[in-house]
Each structure stands twice: as structure tokens, then as C-alpha cells.
């Protein structure tokens, strides 16, 4: 059932993330839930993978492993060839900060920070000097069309605007690897399309790899590759795009 996705013609350096035989078991009382049951996966620069699957199939669990915010019960995750199991908590945080962009269904912005400051935050973690920060944040704010909302806090923004802030926050570090868990789950169709359109153009123009988990069929239209997850196992639905 499992497939290893390879893309001939690209060398190993272009592999952004690789997972081998990922398993995740949750122990709840006497019961063990096998959320992932041996998953192999790989994504490269320029990939746009959409992962479909019913609720409870293990999508979030899988994405959390790829995003290095949770540990597999067994199996390995490599980010740019680096086995993350060997990294300390601090090094993992640096890896997430520098190499991975995360987008959540519930936006997860800092309520006390403005649009500008939310997007700027990862650069502060990286100790980027102020003039560069200003330039990069301003450019990205303009790119996602939030120029007029720069000073507003999240509670003064619409859902679509919030997700654009979150997307900008994920991309401000110039990462080439973005993970999105149901990014359109709280948005209407029009807004969803706009968000996906931004992702698509970043994918095409900047070679950013996107792994998007969703059960929204519309999102599939943006995929270069669609994968199905069911009962903790992956299967390819379409290849190329």
C-alpha cells in the first residue's frame, strides 16, 4: 500500500523532507490507537502535495511529525537529509524556525501583536537586524495584500486576512518548506481560493514545497500531487500536475 515518491532528475539535495516507516501510537487508557502505521513519504523543492483523508485518519498526526513538533513512535524523519531524532530540543526549535513554515487551521496568531509584528516575529528569533527586517516584512505584507492592515491586531482582521498573515509569517524566513493543516478549514470558498492561489504562486515562482492537509476537495485543484491517507496509511492518488 505504501509508496515512496521519487522524482527522477532531481538530486538528493532537493529533497526537503523524507519520512520512512513512520508509526505513531497513542495510548489512551487500555486502548492503543495506531494513528500512523508505517508511512513512507518524501517531498522535494517545488512539490505541492495535497493530503486528503477523512477525519481521524491521521492527517494532523502525520503533519506534526513532518513539522518536527511531535515524535514518532518509530521510524525516521529527515529534513534536508538531517535525521531529526538526533537533535536536541533547542536544535529542533532552530530547525523549525529556520527551515519549516507552519500554517494552522485556526491561524494561531499572537493576539497582542499587530499584522506587521506577527510576520516580523520569526526574524526576531533569528536576530535579523532591524533594517533588513523592515524591508523583508514590508515586501511580504505588500505581496499578500495586507498593506493597509499592517498595524491591526488579529481580532480586527477577517479570517482570510488572518490566514494571509499566518502564511506570511510562515514564509518570512524564506523557507522552502511549508506545512499547512486544513488552512482553508475556517474560510469560505472564495477566500480559500485566494489563499490557495497565493500558495500556488509561491510554489511556482519560488520553488517552495507545500504539504497541505485537507478534506476540502477544492484544495486538490492546486496540487501537483495528491495523496490519500486512510487508517494511518498513505496511498498515491495522482502523480504530477
Amino acid at each position: 500500500m505504501t509508496n515512496e515518491q521519487t522524482n527522477p532528475g532531481k538530486d538528493a539535495a532537493s529533497v526537503v523532507v523524507a519520512a520512512t516507516q513512520l508509526r505513531k501510537h497513542y495510548q489512551t487508557g487500555a486502548e492503543t490507537v495506531e494513528a500512523l502505521r508505517g508511512v513512507d513519504f518524501r517531498a522535494e523543492r517545488g512539490d505541492f502535495v495535497v493530503i486528503h483523508g477523512p477525519s481521524g485518519s491521521g492527517k494532523t498526526t502525520f503533519l506534526n511529525m513532518l513539522g518536527c513538533i511531535d515524535y514518532p513512535t518509530s521510524g525516521a524523519v529527515e529534513i534536508y537529509g538531517q535525521d531529526v531524532a538526533t537533535l536536541s530540543d533547542g536544535k529542533l526549535a532552530e530547525l523549525r524556525r529556520d527551515k519549516i513554515g507552519l500554517v494552522f487551521q485556526t491561524f494561531n496568531l499572537m493576539p497582542v501583536l499587530s499584522t506587521y509584528e506577527n510576520i516580523e516575529y520569526p526574524l526576531l528569533l533569528q536576530n535579523v537586524p532591524r533594517p533588513q527586517r523592515r524591508e523583508r516584512v514590508q515586501k511580504l505584507i505588500d505581496a499578500v495584500g495586507l498593506t493597509n492592515e499592517a498595524g491591526r491586531r488579529p481580532n480586527k482582521l477577517s479570517g482570510g486576512q488572518r490566514q494571509r498573515v499566518a502564511l506570511a509569517r510562515a514564509l518570512i524566513t524564506e523557507t522552502h518548506f511549508v506545512l499547512a493543516d486544513e488552512p482553508t478549514g475556517n474560510l469560505d470558498t472564495e477566500t480559500s481560493k485566494r489563499i490557495m492561489g497565493i500558495m500556488k504562486s509561491l510554489n511556482e515562482n519560488r520553488d517552495v514545497a507545500f504539504v497541505v492537509v485537507t478534506h476540502d476537495p477544492m484544495v486538490g485543484e492546486f496540487a501537483r500531487r495528491t495523496v490519500e491517507i486512510r487508517d494511518g496509511l498513505l496511498s498515491t492518488v495522482t502523480q504530477g500536475g
Binding site: I69, D89, G90, A93, F104, L125
Partner: protein
């Protein structure tokens, strides 16, 4: 940036922040007022002690050890002059006077009592020591006069103008008696002074003791703070002059002083500790609640690459900010409390004292330091545990929290 986020988080829930600030500032303000009161009291004790003993006293080395052997421990005219010459050289010395102290029995009719007598020079009084309540004080040239404590006068049934008899051992050990006229009755600072002390002209004391010597030179200085430096110089000069005398400073002479002051210091310490604990636990509860509500935000911060110690620092800063604002506000509260107390006309009865003295709060920038430190330390400590807890959360678990 960390501080900016912390500040905004502090201001995020105004009701909770106001509650925290009220707790911290009341605690700090109270501490400021109590410590101001304690420094008023201890300053008062210091002042009256120095009024009683002078800044320092000089006597024969042996006097300090065995005061009852009067034959060998008194200073005769020549030594007094030599010591006086040394004192005259010191610009900080504002005055000095010879004393001759003695113990005796005082009698009036069938009543008698133990008496600590002090022979003083009425023309050269450098210590206040008492206030005349009835009759009059010793005057220059007075002979055969005595002023006695008010309680002692009451016990003996004596009024100014009456005569009393003193029974006394001379320096040779033979008995002597003297009939002295009571010039006045004085009010002392403390009960034991009013009930046991009397003052006579020094010549009268010398006659009673059958000596021309004196036992101490009482020295007063320009300033309390000059005591130690002047004592150091003087000690050296007295030693090299080899006069067989030694000086003692007021704090050593007043054996009760350290004890009394440390009692007040202890009380202040206990109040400080109480307020520290009170603020600590109140703020601990507030911060625990506030941090728990933001678990998901912690998850997000960590997921996008914030390290644990950053989260810890961020939350700790919130505690520190509360401490700083609450502390500064508390000093204002304390100043308000101090003004209120100082204008209320409240009084209290110090232990061993005879009259009520006003309760006053001494306010100075220095007395704000300890309350401020207590405020900041207690809020800092109360932030440590919840901040540590939040920083240690597993990222996925924190993210999953609603």
C-alpha cells in the same frame, strides 16, 4: 521585543492586572510605612541614647572593668588635663565634661531607696539627660544641692526645698553621710532613670566620696556619624600618650541598645517576610491562571521556533513588570500612608517609657529600597514556577489545548 510582548500580555487582562497591582502595591506600601515607623523609633532610641551617654566617654582602663575599686580607677587633675588637651585638638569635639558617678542610699524620714548619683558640672552641661518637672535645675556655684527623678521623689515623698540624706562609701571604703537640699525634680526618658537617678554638683560628689578625682570624661561630637572616625583617632592618641585611659563609644556603653534595636529589626524582618509570602502566593495564583489560559499560544510560539528558555523568559518578564509597577505604585501608597499617620496624631508607649510618644513614619528614598526589592523578588519568584511549567509543555499538547 520580549519585553514589549510581556508588557502587552500584562495589559491584556486589565481586571486581573489591576488586582495584581493592588495586592503588590498594598503590600509594598504597608512595608514602606512600617519600615519608616521602625526607622523613626530606632532613630529616636539612638538619639536619646547619645543624649544620655554622649558620643563617647573616656576613663581609666580599670574603671571599665572594676568600677567599684574607686581608689585606683579615678582620674586625678593631671590626667584629666592631659586628656583634655588631646580633646581640644580635635575639631569634631563640641564639648566634654567630667562626671563622678556613685551609688548610695537616699533617705527622707523613714523612707529610703537605692540611688545612682551623677556628679556633674552645672556650668558645663553637655548632655540633656532630663527635663525639670518641678523646682529648678542645678546652677553654677550650687553646693549641697540635688535634683532627683520624679518617681524617686514620689516614693520618698519629697518636694523641691526638702532635705534628703545620702549614705555613701568614700573611695577609702569608710562611710560618709551628706544632707542635701532638693533643688528640683526631673522627668527622664525612661522609668529606671526617673526612679533611681539623681544629679549633684561634681564638687559635692567629690566631697561625699572624699576625692578630688573624676571617673569619666563625657565627650560630645558635631555629628553621630563622626563617632567612629574620631574614636579611632583618639584611641591611637590616647594609647601613644600612655595615660592609662581608654575610650568607649555610646553604642558599647548602652548595653541595651543593640538588643532594643535588634528587636525592632526583627519585627520589621517578620513583617517583610509576611508581606513577601502574601504577595508571592497571590501573584502565583494570578500568573498560573494567566499562563494556563495562554497554553495554545505557547504551543504556537514553540512550533514556529521559539526556544523553551525564551518562553520562560517571556513569562518571567511579566512577573518582573508586575513587580516593578506594583512596587513603584506601592511606594506612592506608602508615602500616602505615611502622611496619613504623621497627621493623625496617633501615639504609642515605648517599652520602659513613661509617656506616650507620637507615632511617626520617617520617609526617605533609602527606606523605599527594601520594600521595592521585596515587591520585585516576590513577584519574580511567583512567576518562576508557572513560567517553567509553560516552557516545558510538549508542543503538540500545548497546541491541542483549547
Amino acid at each position: 521585543m520580549g519585553l514589549r510582548i510581556a508588557l502587552r500580555n500584562v495589559l491584556r487582562n486589565p481586571r486581573r492586572t489591576v488586582l495584581s497591582l493592588v495586592i503588590i502595591s498594598l503590600g509594598t506600601g504597608m512595608l514602606f510605612a512600617v519600615s519608616g515607623f521602625v526607622s523613626f523609633i530606632t532613630d529616636g532610641i539612638t538619639e536619646s541614647t547619645v543624649e544620655q551617654y554622649g558620643n563617647l566617654q573616656i576613663a581609666d582602663i580599670d574603671l571599665w572593668e572594676r568600677a567599684d575599686d574607686r581608689l585606683v580607677t579615678l582620674m586625678e587633675g593631671e590626667r584629666v588635663e592631659q586628656v583634655s588637651a588631646l580633646l581640644d585638638e580635635l575639631p569634631d569635639v563640641t564639648g566634654y565634661a567630667a562626671n563622678l558617678t556613685f551609688t548610695s542610699q537616699i533617705q527622707k524620714g523613714s523612707e529610703s531607696s537605692l540611688l545612682f548619683g551623677v556628679g556633674v558640672d552645672p556650668a558645663n552641661r553637655i548632655l540633656a539627660g532630663y527635663e525639670i518637672a518641678r523646682g529648678e535645675d542645678l546652677k553654677p556655684g550650687d553646693r549641697g544641692k540635688i535634683v532627683i527623678g520624679r518617681l524617686l521623689a514620689d516614693n520618698l515623698g519629697v518636694e523641691p526645698g526638702d532635705y534628703v540624706t545620702l549614705l555613701i562609701a568614700t573611695v577609702n571604703g569608710s562611710f560618709n553621710t551628706g544632707r542635701l537640699q532638693v533643688a528640683g525634680v526631673f522627668r527622664g526618658f525612661e522609668e529606671f532613670i526617673e526612679s533611681q537617678f539623681a544629679y549633684v554638683p561634681i564638687e559635692t560628689a567629690q566631697l561625699l566620696l572624699n576625692t578630688t578625682g573624676v571617673d569619666k570624661l563625657v565627650v560630645s561630637l558635631t555629628d553621630l556619624d563622626r563617632t567612629e572616625p574620631v574614636a579611632a583617632i583618639l584611641r591611637e592618641r590616647l594609647a601613644s600618650a600612655d595615660l592609662g585611659v581608654e575610650l568607649r563609644t555610646w553604642d558599647v556603653l548602652a548595653t541595651q541598645y543593640e538588643q532594643t534595636v535588634s528587636m525592632f529589626t526583627f519585627i520589621l524582618g517578620a513583617v517583610s517576610l509576611g508581606i513577601f509570602i502574601l504577595v508571592l502566593f497571590s501573584i502565583l495564583e494570578v500568573l498560573t491562571m494567566s499562563f494556563l489560559e495562554r497554553t495554545r499560544e505557547v504551543g504556537t510560539l514553540r512550533a514556529i521556533g521559539t526556544k523553551r528558555h525564551h518562553v520562560f523568559r517571556l513569562f518571567l518578564s511579566e512577573g518582573i513588570l508586575l513587580g516593578i509597577f506594583g512596587g513603584l505604585l506601592g511606594i506612592l501608597v506608602g508615602i500616602g500612608l505615611g502622611f496619613a499617620v504623621n497627621h493623625s496624631g496617633m501615639g504609642w508607649m515605648p517599652p520602659g517609657s513613661l509617656e506616650e510618644v507620637p507615632i511617626l513614619v520617617k520617609m526617605s528614598p533609602v527606606s523605599a529600597i527594601t520594600p521595592l526589592i521585596i515587591a520585585m523578588l516576590s513577584t519574580l519568584v511567583s512567576a518562576i514556577f508557572p513560567a517553567w511549567h509553560s516552557a516545558r509543555l510538549a508542543v503538540v499538547d500545548a497546541l491541542r489545548t483549547q
